[in-house]
Amino acid sequence: MAHAATAARPPERGLDVYTQKVGMWVFLCSEVMFFAGLIGSYVVLRFGASSSWAEPNEVLNVTVTAINTFILICSSVTMVKAFAAAEAGDQKGIKTYLLATTALGALFLGVQVYEYYELIFHQSWAGSHGFTPQAGLYGATFFTMTGFHGFHVLLGVICLGWATIRAYQGHWGADNTHGLEVLGLYWHFVDLVWIILFTIVYLI
C-alpha cells in the first residue's frame, strides 16, 4: 500500500485550522441553536401576549446586572490577555490573567446567585411574595434562560480554574496555546450570549 509518492504528497488541508479549534467552533454552533430555542421562545411568548408581562426594571435589578455584565466583559478581556501572554511565552502574564478571568467569572456567578436570592425571597410580583420560576411566564422564561446561561458560565469557570492550576504548573507557553485558545472561544461565546440575554431580558 505504501508508495514512494507518500512522503512527497501534502495532506488534505481541510480548513487549515487545528482540530480542537474546529471542534469547538462546531460545538458552539449547537449551543447557538440551544439558546436560540430558549430565547426565541421567550420572544414569542412575551411579545405575543404582552399584557401580563411587567417591565424589566419593575422586577429585575437592572443596575446591578449591568455592572455584572461589565464584569463578564472584563473577564473576556483578561482571557484575551492570557492567551496573548501564552503566545508571547510570558509565564507571569498567563498566571495573572487566567487567575483574573477565573475570579471575574466566579464573581459574575456570585452576583447572579445573590440576584436570584433577592428575587426569590424579597421581590414581590403580581401581588404574591417572591419572584420564582412559577411566577407566570415571566418567571419561567427568566429563570430558564439565565439559569442555563449560568450553568454554562459555571462549566466555564470550572475549566478556567483547571487551566489556572495548570498555568501555575507551567503547563502553558508559546508552544502550548491551543487549549487556552479553545477555552477562550467558549468563554467569549458565553459572554456574547449574556450580552444578548441582558439586552433582550433586562433592557427591552
Binding site: 507518500t6 474546529v22 449547537s30 449551543e31 441553536m33 436560540a36 421562545s41 422564561t141
Partner: protein, 587 residues
C-alpha cells in the same frame, strides 16, 4: 509507527501500541470501530423492543375484543384480565415511535455507521476526539435503561405520542402518566447530548482528517451523507433539547410554557418540536441514501451516475429540510397563505429527491448487476422510498393533508420512508459491512430468505394502510370497531396484523444469521465485494488505528469498470496513481 508521514493538520500523531485490559479494549473503548459495534448491539436490541411494542399494538387493533395471549405476564396496570388497557395502548403507540426513532433507527444510521465508516473511508486512524466518542456511546446506555424502566413505574411509560404535544404531555391529570413522561424526557436529553457530541466528532473529522488526495469531491457518497446529516443533527437536536427542558419544567417545576391556563402556548411546542422534527426525518433518511449509493455502485460495477448532482442533492435536501416544518402543522389553524408557503417548500424537496432516485436508476442501468443480499436491499430501497416519497407529495398539499392528517395514510407514508427506506438500507448496510466489522461473511442464503420474506410481508403490512387512511381510519386509536365510517376495515386490519407477526418473525432469521455468523461465518477477505473505497483496502477487521501508514488517494470513490483498467472492473481509491479518472474529481 515512526513511518507515519504526510499527516493532515488534524491527524492523530500515532499512538504507542500498548496492551490494554479487556475493559479498556472492548467495554470502555475509544476505538471508533468498537464504539460502532457497541452502538450496533444496542440499536438492534431496541429495534427488537420497538417491534415487540408494535406487535402488541397490532393485536389490539385486529382483535380489540379478545384477550391477548400471554398478556397474563404483564401487570394489571397494563393488561387487565388479558385485555390491553387504553392507557397502556397509548404508551405502546408512544414508545414504539419514540424507541424506533431515537434508540433504534437514528443511532443505527449515525452511531453505527458514521462511527465505523468515517475514519476508515477518509483514510485516518480514528475520530478527531476518540474519548468524546466513547462518551457519546455511554450516554445512550442510561437513556436506554431509563426508557425501559419507565414502563414499570406508576402510571406507566409516556403516553402522549412520540411528538409529545402539549398540553397532553405536560399535564399528568390528562394522561394518567407522570413519572414515565418525565423519564422519557430525561432519556431524550441524554440522547440529544450523545447525538450533538457525536456530530462534533463527525464534522470535525470530515473537515480536518482526510487522507492526502481525499479532496471533498473524492469522498464516498456515504461520507457526504453522514457529514450533512451530522450538520443537521448539530443544528436541530439542541432545539429539541431546549423544548424538552421547557416541557420538563412544565411537568415538574410548575411553569406554564405550553399550558394555556398559565398563559403559555401549546402551539409553541409544535413549532419547536417540528423545527427539530423535520430536519430529524432527513437525519433518518440521508445516511440511508448514502449507503444505497455506495452499495448500488459496487453491485452494478459502475460509478454512481451524477456524483456531483448527488452531493448537491444531499445539500439541497438538508437545507430545504429546515424550512418545511409547518407541513406537520397544517391542522393547527394557520393562515392559509403560510400553509401555501410550506406547501411550496415541501414540494421543492421532491426535486433533489427525484434527482437522487433517477441517478440510482442511472447507476444500475446497463450495469453488471451482482444481486447479492446488500444489493437486493439497496434496490428495494429505491422502489419503497419512491412510494413513500410519492405519498409525501399528497400530504404536502394543504387541502389534501387536511383530509388525511392523523389517519393511517400518514402511518403508511412514514413506514414506507422509515422502514422501506431507512431500515431496508440499514439491512443492506449491515450485510455489506459485516465482513469488514467482524472478519466473516453472513450467510448469503439466509440473507436472501430474510430479504424476500421481509419484502413481501412488509408490503402486505404497510401498503393497505394507504387505503385505510383514505377511508378515514384514525391514528393512535384504541378500538376502531365502534365507528360507522370504519365499518368493513376490520378484515384489512386483521390481515395487516397477521402479516406484521410474520414480519417480526423474519427478524429472527436475520438475528440468527447475524449472531451465528459473527462466530461461525465464512472467513472474509479484505475486500469480498471488490469495492473501491478505502475501508476495503485494509484487513477485515482493521487493526486498532486502521493503518500503519495513512493511504494516499488518487481517484474518485466509485471507479468501477474504468476504461483504462483492463485486468479488473474496479480501481481502489489509493492505487495506480498513473491512471487518470475521467469522472469529475477535483485534483
Amino acid at each position: 509507527m515512526a513511518t507515519i508521514v504526510a499527516e493532515a493538520p488534524g491527524q492523530a500523531t500515532g499512538h504507542a501500541e500498548h496492551e490494554q485490559s479487556f475493559l479498556r479494549k472492548y467495554i470502555f473503548s475509544s476505538d471508533h470501530k468498537i464504539i460502532a459495534i457497541q452502538f450496533l448491539f444496542l440499536t438492534l436490541f431496541f429495534l427488537a423492543v420497538g417491534g415487540l411494542l408494535a406487535m402488541m399494538m397490532r393485536y389490539q387493533i385486529a382483535w380489540p375484543d379478545q384477550p391477548i395471549p400471554g398478556g397474563g405476564i404483564l401487570p394489571e396496570s397494563m393488561v387487565a384480565s388479558g385485555y390491553i388497557l387504553p392507557e397502556f395502548y397509548n404508551a405502546l403507540v408512544t414508545m414504539h415511535g419514540s424507541i424506533m426513532v431515537f434508540l433504534a433507527i437514528m443511532p443505527m444510521l449515525v452511531g453505527v455507521y458514521a462511527n465505523y465508516l468515517i475514519p476508515l473511508q477518509l483514510g485516518t486512524h480514528d475520530m478527531a476526539f476518540p474519548r468524546l466518542n466513547m462518551y457519546s456511546f455511554w450516554l445512550m446506555v442510561p437513556a436506554g435503561i431509563i426508557t425501559l424502566a419507565s414502563f414499570w413505574v406508576i402510571g406507566g411509560a409516556a403516553g402522549a405520542g412520540w411528538t409529545l404535544y402539549a398540553p397532553l404531555s405536560a399535564r399528568p391529570d390528562l394522561t394518567g402518566v407522570e413519572l414515565g413522561q418525565v423519564m422519557w424526557l430525561v432519556a431524550l436529553i441524554f440522547i440529544g447530548l450523545s447525538s450533538i457530541l457525536g456530530s462534533v466528532n463527525y464534522i470535525t473529522t470530515t473537515i480536518n482528517m482526510r487522507a492526502p488526495g481525499m479532496t471533498w469531491f473524492r469522498m464516498p457518497l456515504t461520507i457526504w451523507a453522514l457529514f450533512i446529516t451530522a450538520i443537521l443533527a448539530l443544528l436541530a437536536m439542541p432545539v429539541l433539547s431546549a423544548a424538552g427542558i421547557m416541557l420538563l419544567f412544565d411537568q415538574t417545576l410548575g411553569t406554564s410554557f405550553f399550558l394555556p391556563e398559565g398563559g403559555g402556548q401549546p402551539l409553541l411546542w409544535q413549532h419547536l418540536f417540528w423545527f427539530f422534527g423535520h430536519p430529524e426525518v432527513y437525519i433518518l433518511i440521508l445516511p440511508a441514501m448514502g449507503f444505497v449509493s455506495e452499495i448500488l455502485a459496487t453491485g452494478s460495477r459502475k460509478p454512481v451516475f451524477g456524483y456531483k448532482a448527488m452531493v448537491w442533492a444531499i445539500v439541497a435536501i438538508a437545507f430545504l429540510g429546515f424550512i418545511v416544518w409547518g407541513h406537520h402543522m397544517f391542522m393547527s389553524g394557520m393562515n392559509p397563505t403560510l400553509g401555501l408557503s410550506f406547501t411550496v417548500s415541501t414540494l421543492l424537496i421532491a426535486v433533489p429527491s427525484a434527482i437522487k432516485t433517477f441517478n440510482w436508476m442511472g447507476t444500475m442501468w446497463r450495469g453488471n448487476l451482482k444481486l447479492h443480499t446488500p444489493m437486493l436491499f439497496a434496490i428495494s430501497f429505491v422502489a419503497l422510498f419512491a412510494i413513500g416519497g410519492l405519498s409525501g407529495v399528497f400530504m404536502a398539499a394543504t387541502p389534501v393533508d387536511i383530509y388525511i392528517h392523523d389517519t393511517y395514510f400518514i402511518v403508511a407514508h412514514l413506514h414506507y420512508v422509515l422502514f422501506g427506506g431507512s431500515l431496508f438500507a440499514l439491512f443492506g448496510a449491515i450485510y455489506y459491512w459485516f465482513p469488514k466489522m467482524f472478519g466473516r461473511m453472513m450467510s448469503e442464503k439466509w440473507g436472501k430468505v430474510h430479504f424476500w420474506t421481509t419484502f413481501v410481508l412488509y408490503n402486505l403490512v404497510f401498503f393497505p394502510m394507504h387505503g385505510l387512511g383514505m377511508v378515514g381510519m384514525m391514528r393512535r386509536i384504541y378500538d376502531s370497531t365502534g365507528y360507522a365510517h370504519l365499518e368493513g376495515i376490520q378484515d384489512t386490519n386483521q390481515l395487516i396484523t397477521v402479516a406484521a407477526f410474520g414480519l417480526y418473525l423474519t427478524g429472527f432469521i436475520f438475528a440468527f444469521n447475524f449472531f451465528w455468523s459473527i462466530f461461525k461465518g465464512k472467513k472474509a477477505s479484505r475486500n469480498p465485494w471488490d469495492a473501491t473505497t478505502l475501508e476495503w483496502q485494509t484487513p477485515s477487521p482493521p487493526k486498532h488505528g486502521n493503518w500503519d501508514e495513512v493511504p494516499v488517494v488518487y481517484h474518485g470513490p466509485h471507479e468501477y469498470s474504468h476504461p483504462d483498467v483492463l485486468d479488473k472492473d474496479w480501481l481502489a481509491q489509493n492505487e495506480r496513481p498513473d491512471v487518470v479518472s475521467p469522472a469529475a474529481g477535483s485534483h
